[in-house]
C-alpha cells in the first residue's frame, strides 16, 4: 500500500475541513452528520460540573466525539494544550480546572472557530486561556511546555497521525499526559476511499 501522505491531497482535505467547521462556527445548530452542543457533551459523559458552569453559547458549537476528561480533568496550576480546539468548550473546561495559576492553549486551523473561541473566552472573562492558529502536525508550542495534551475528534482528520503524535511527544514535559478521544478504523481503507475527501469530512 502506498504511503498515505502520497495518496491524500492534504491541501484539499484541509480546505474541506476548514469549510465544514466554518459552517459549524457560523451556525452550530444547523443540520450536520455529527452531534453538537451541550446535550451531546452530556451524552458523552462529560462531568456535570464544571459543564453546568459554562453558558449555552460556550457549548453550542461543541462537536467532539468523546470525553477527554474521562479519567479526570487537569490539576490546578497545570499547562494544557487542546489540539483542534474548535469552539473552545474543552479548553474552557480545562481553564476552569487549572485555575489562575495554570494556562490553556487551544490550537485550531479554522479562522472562524478561532474568532468564536477567542470572543467566548473574553465573554467568560477567562484570561488563563488563549487560542493560536496552527496545524496540529506543526504545533505553535514550545518544546516541553505542557503537562497535559487533550484532543477530541480531530486526529482522525489528519493523514499524518504519526506526525501528530510526534508533536504531542515534543510539547509534553517528561511525565506529562495526553488524553485523546477519537474515531479509529482498525482495518485497511482502500486507496480510492483514502483519496475521496468527502469520506474524510463526512
Amino acid at each position: 500500500m502506498a504511503e498515505i501522505l502520497d495518496v491524500v491531497d492534504l491541501e484539499a482535505l484541509r480546505k474541506e475541513v476548514r469549510e465544514k467547521y466554518r459552517e459549524v462556527a457560523a451556525d452550530p445548530t444547523a443540520e450536520y452528520h455529527f452531534h453538537t452542543g451541550r446535550p451531546h457533551a452530556i451524552r458523552l459523559g462529560y462531568p456535570a460540573t464544571p459543564l453546568d458552569q459554562l453558558p449555552d453559547y460556550a457549548c453550542e458549537a461543541f462537536a467532539g466525539v468523546g470525553n477527554p476528561f474521562f479519567w479526570g480533568g487537569p490539576k490546578p496550576g497545570q499547562r494544557v494544550v487542546d489540539l483542534g480546539s474548535g469552539a473552545g468548550m474543552d479548553s474552557f473546561l480545562a481553564a476552569h480546572w487549572v485555575g489562575n495559576e495554570g494556562h490553556v492553549i487551544g490550537v485550531d486551523m479554522t479562522p472562524e472557530m478561532l474568532d468564536r473561541s477567542r470572543s467566548m473566552a473574553v465573554k467568560l472573562g477567562l484570561d488563563n486561556v488563549e487560542f493560536r492558529e496552527g496545524l496540529i502536525e506543526d504545533l505553535p508550542i514550545e518544546d516541553g511546555w505542557a503537562d497535559v495534551v487533550i484532543s477530541n475528534g480531530v486526529i482522525n482528520l489528519c493523514p499524518d497521525k504519526i506526525g501528530v503524535y510526534r508533536q504531542i511527544f515534543r510539547v509534553l514535559k517528561p511525565g506529562g499526559r495526553m488524553t485523546v478521544a477519537d474515531i479509529c478504523l482498525e482495518r485497511p481503507v482502500p486507496e480510492e476511499a483514502l483519496r475521496d475527501i468527502d469520506l474524510w469530512t463526512g
Binding site: 500500500m1 452528520h33 504519526i162 514535559k173 511525565g175 506529562g176 478521544a181 480510492e192
Partner: protein, 84 residues
C-alpha cells in the same frame, strides 16, 4: 509489518494499543442513529435522501468500515531510557 503497510487509522490503533489505558466508548453507528433521531421529520428525510444518493453512486470499495470511538491516555516517559 512496517509503517508503509499500515493505514493512518491502523497506525493510530497500533499506538492506542500501547497506551496505558484505553476505553472503547461507543461505536460511531450509535451516535449516527441518535443524531438521526434528533432531527425533525423533514430534516431526517433530507438526510436519508442524501445518504441514498451517495450510496447509490458508491462502488464496493467505497463501503468503508465503521470506526470505533476510543478514549486513550498515555504518559510521556520521565527519562529517554524509559521510551520503548
Amino acid at each position: 509489518m512496517n509503517r508503509a503497510d499500515l493505514t493512518a487509522n491502523q497506525q493510530t490503533a497500533m499506538l492506542a494499543d500501547r497506551y496505558t489505558q484505553r476505553a472503547d466508548a461507543y461505536q460511531v453507528r450509535i451516535t449516527s442513529r441518535l443524531r438521526l433521531q434528533s432531527l425533525t421529520e423533514k430534516e431526517r428525510r433530507a438526510c436519508l435522501g442524501r445518504i441514498r444518493r451517495r450510496l447509490s453512486g458508491a462502488d464496493d470499495e467505497q463501503y468503508v468500515y465503521r470506526g470505533n470511538v476510543f478514549i486513550a491516555t498515555a504518559v510521556k516517559a520521565d527519562h529517554p531510557s524509559d521510551i520503548q
